[in-house]
Each structure stands twice: as C-alpha cells, then as structure tokens.
C-alpha cells in the first residue's frame, strides 16, 4: 500500500502512522448535549466497508497530518489532502460556501 502525501508524493505506507476516521468532529464542550456528543466523538464510528477518509501522520517523512481517502474493501487509495486543507473545506461547506468535499464518510474536521 502506498499513500500519496500531498507534500512528498507517493510513499510507502510504512512511513506513516495511522490515527483513524477523519470525519468525526470534536464537539463544542459548551454546547447543549455535549456529553452525548463527546461520547459519539470519542467512541462511535461509521466504520464503512468502502471509502473511508482517515488521518495519517507522515512520521518518517515531512511530519504532516494528512487526510487520505482509501477503500477499506480493496485498500485502493483515491487521493489525499493536508489535514489543514481538509478542515478549511469542511468549514467552508459548513458556512454555506462551495466545497467539493462530500460523500458518505463526510463532514471532516482535522483539529482533533
């Protein structure tokens, strides 16, 4: 499996450290229902059989956090962006701006 780091190009997956689902969003602790929302954020996952947006850390490379879109059934990789770009796209989408970032495993947030 090779991952396309947006900064370094395609590299062996052994250079990266996995974090997990990049679509869960850290709730606002002051919001109503924050307790349940934090439980969902920390523990509950869609765990899709198919396309999955996930955080990887390029630990043996440029040390950036990136968001990779990978198919959990085939290990095929469709693309990757920096976690920062991913967060920006999500915020833009949330504030009604245009964004190309959607799909089943949606609503990305990178400041976890």
């Amino acid at each position: 499996m090779r991952l396309p780091c947006p900064l370094c190009g395609e590299r062996d997956s052994g250079e990266f450290t996995y974090r997990g689902d990049a679509t869960v969003v850290r709730p606002d602790p002051a919001s109503p229902g924050a307790k349940e929302a934090f439980h969902a954020f920390v523990h509950l996952r869609d765990n899709p059989a198919g396309w999955h947006k996930e955080h990887w850390y390029h630990s043996d490379g440029c040390r950036s956090w990136i968001v990779v879109e990978r198919n959990t059934l085939t290990h095929e990789v469709r693309g990757a962006v920096t976690a920062a770009a991913h967060t920006l796209a999500r915020r833009e989408a949330a504030s009604g701006g245009k964004s190309s970032d959607d799909g089943s495993n949606e609503a990305p947030e990178a400041d976890a």
């Binding site: 499996m1 062996d12 997956s13 052994g14 996995y18 997990g20 689902d21 349940e36 439980h39 969902a40 920390v42 523990h43 509950l44 996952r45 869609d46 765990n47 059989a49 999955h52 996930e54 990978r70 959990t72 059934l73 085939t74 290990h75």
Partner: protein, 416 residues
C-alpha cells in the same frame, strides 16, 4: 453417532464407507424461537449451549458462507486466561475451565493441548507489570508463575537471551494455557448443536431485520424471511455491517490481523512463546509448521488480507527472538477482519431493540473465549440477564466511563 475407540475400529473394518455426515443440511423453517446470525465459533457455541444448558432447541444458526469460514478458521489458536482486569479474569478463566472439559462434553477431538503459554519480559518495568498481572490472576484462582531467565533457558535454550537491545530477563508462564485445533472447535460445536435439533443453515446471508415498534420479529436473508422470537448476532469482523441495518452505531473499527505458517519441521517448540517487544507470538502445530503472528496492520480494513510492512515487522521480531527460525520457509500467510472495540474488550449485551442481542468486539483474542462467549451469550438470550462472569461486557460502558482497557492505550482501536 457417538465417537469412541469402538466406532473407529468398526468403521475401519468396513473400509470407512459407513461414516455419516456430521450435521444435516436443513432448509430454513418459517419460524424459530431463536436465530443466531453467524456460524463462526461464537455463533455455534451459543447454539450448542442454548440447546444443551438452557433447553432451547428450536434454534437456527444462519451463516452467509460455510460454517467456520471466518476468523474461527483463521486464528493462531492460542488459548489462555492471563488477563489482569477484574472484569476480564473470571470470564477468561471460566472459558479455560470449559476448554479443559470440552472434548468430553461435545464428544469431539478438538486437540486441546495445554502446552503452556510463556510471555517474555525484557526490562525491570515490564517484569513488574507482569508480576502484577500474575498476582491479579492468582487472586482470582488462575495459575501464573513468574519465571526467571535461568528457568526460561532450560525451557527454550535457543532463544536470543543476550540480545543487545531486548535481553530476555524472564517470563510470565501460564502452564494451563496452550492451543486447540480451531476448525475442530467449530465442527465439534456444530455437530453438538445439530444433534440436539439446532438447524445449521449455510450459504444464507442476513440482509436485514424485521423490527416493529422497537421489537425484533425476524431476519431477512438471501433465502427468505425467517421469523423468530429472539435474535443473537455474533458476526465478529462484520458486526458494523450487519448492525448498520438496525441503525445502531457502535464503538467498533474493523482491522486486519495477519498470521503465518512455515513448512513442517521436526518437533522444536513445545509451548507457546510471546516476545514482549512489540508483539510476536509463536507455537508449533501438530503437523510441524511454526504458526506465528504479530500486531494488527493498523488501519481500518475489511479486505481479509494485509500488507508487506507488517509481514516484514513480524518476521524481524521473530528473528530477534528466535534466530534459529530464519531458515524456515513461510508456506502461507493470510488475514482476518477483527471487530476492534474502543477499549479492546468484548461486548455481550442486549440492545435497545426488544429481543435483539449482540455478541461482538472480540478483537484479536476471541478464539480462547469461544466456549465462555457462547455459554454467556446463551445465558443472556435464554434468561435475559447477563451471566455473572460477563457482567462487565456491557454496551453502555463506553458512554458511562466503565472501560475495560487491558492495554491501557485509550480509545484507539489499532493500539489494543
């Protein structure tokens, strides 16, 4: 038919032409008291104990492939009860006790072999942690021995004791641990359940559930709808996919774990040994192959196959521990999909749906749990209350904060 020395001799004399198939191939009935989804180790043992211990025999096990086609047929077969947390130790010890009488109980040779499980330690800190775990086990009546380097040298003289980076200081030994023949465990439970009237329905995938007003009514399958009063789901790595059809979101990620077997060798390793660095465990099968494995690949996967970096890592760990195996050729390697929970411990509980029970989250360690998991799940389904040794395996423990994190790594499934 009951197996005995006499039945083997009689059948041999008639040219082994009169053996009967071990279980029936029934068509699904329209309705059952209980439907179990998943014909792996846990589903089959649940059906067996439902019939044998709780008198519920109008039961079907619905399996999408063939019996034992999942992780029960893919694991490294290690059986032990060396867990350290109060919620875990009694459960795994109950399981080991069931293993000890299993072959007599279900009249099938599961090749249960209590050859000893030795977990090595390589630093003072690791020794202290193992001593603590051993003491916790002994307080629960489980056997555990902390052995020093000299004792390990006597058992396995060929280990690399003076490794510059990870010298072997000693180990925590559970002599009652060992291995069992994984396929035979599935077959023994299947035969025992079938002979008590349970219908084992293969090539029948559950595609949905009939739920009316929060009450379970039946399962939809590729062979039609089957009505039932209760359902127990035990589908291991497929848990999220199956439970998705109920709308329930779970604290689970699916991950791939690989295993390896070498060509057959002469007797070389008579117990199970695990390396305390990273994760590496090895035993020798009765056919002579070295069976070994390591950590998860580490990323979400449903692919039933892993990648090369973990293969390299596992082989490197093996070489650091046991340089002598370097010339053995690997015959096969494979992967299985693990239902990894957020705290690394399993779930055996009711769900918010009436009559709907869930058994999942076995991670990479559910083979040893097969007897107790089935027994406790059958208890829960029959009596609608948890078995005393399984009370910690609640679904709501994540929300309530009562996690069972044996590895102490937090809500990060790939680290358990």
């Amino acid at each position: 038919m009951r197996y005995s020395a006499l039945s083997i001799v009689t059948n041999a004399l008639s040219g082994n032409r009169n053996w009967k198939p071990v279980w029936r191939e029934p068509e699904p009935k329209a309705e059952y008291d209980v439907v179990i989804v998943g014909g792996g180790g846990h589903g089959l043992s649940t059906a067996y104990y439902l019939a044998k211990e709780f008198g519920i025999t109008n039961v079907a096990v619905v399996e999408k492939g063939w019996l034992g086609s999942g992780n029960i047929g893919r694991n490294t077969t290690i059986v032990r009860s060396n867990y350290g947390l109060p919620g875990n130790t009694p459960f795994y010890e109950f399981s080991l006790k069931l293993w000890e009488g299993l072959e007599q109980d279900f009249n099938y040779n599961a090749m249960m072999s209590q050859r000893g499980v030795l977990n090595l330690f390589h630093s003072d800190g690791q020794r202290d942690a193992f001593a603590r775990r051993g003491n916790a086990m002994r307080l629960e009546g489980v056997d555990a021995e902390l052995v020093d380097q000299a004792a390990v040298r006597k058992m396995y003289p060929f280990l690399d004791f003076d490794n510059a980076r990870f010298p072997i200081q000693g180990g925590l030994l559970q002599r009652r641990g060992g291995t069992a023949r994984h396929d035979a465990v599935a077959w023994g439970y299947a035969r025992g359940a079938d002979s008590r009237g349970v219908d084992l329905i293969q090539n029948c995938e559950v595609t949905g559930f009939v739920i009316e007003g929060g009450v379970f009514k039946g399962v939809e399958t590729t062979r039609g709808t089957i009505k039932a009063k209760k359902v127990g789901v035990a589908v291991a790595g497929s848990t999220t996919r199956v439970m998705h059809k109920t709308g329930l979101r779970l604290p689970i990620e699916s991950h791939v774990l690989q295993a390896f077997v070498t060509e057959g060798l002469k007797p070389f390793l008579d117990g199970v040994v695990s390396f305390g660095v990273g994760h590496f465990y090895i035993s020798q099968s009765d056919k002579g192959g070295l069976v070994f494995g390591g950590d998860l690949d580490g990323y979400n996967s449903y692919a039933q196959r892993g990648n090369l970096p973990m293969i390299e890592h596992v082989c490197e760990a093996g070489m650091s521990l046991m340089p002598a195996i370097g010339r053995a050729r690997i015959l096969r390697n494979w992967g299985g999909v693990m239902d990894m929970t957020m705290d690394g411990s399993p779930i055996i509980d009711k769900t918010p749906i009436d009559g709907f029970f869930l058994n999942c989250g076995w991670c990479y360690g559910g083979f040893k749990a097969t007897p107790a998991s089935g027994f406790c799940f059958a208890h829960l389904i029959a009596r609608e209350e948890p078995h005393p040794v399984a009370v910690a395996y609640r679904l709501d423990r994540f929300e309530k904060g009562y996690l069972l994190d044996e590895e102490r790594t937090g809500a990060q499934p790939n680290l358990h």
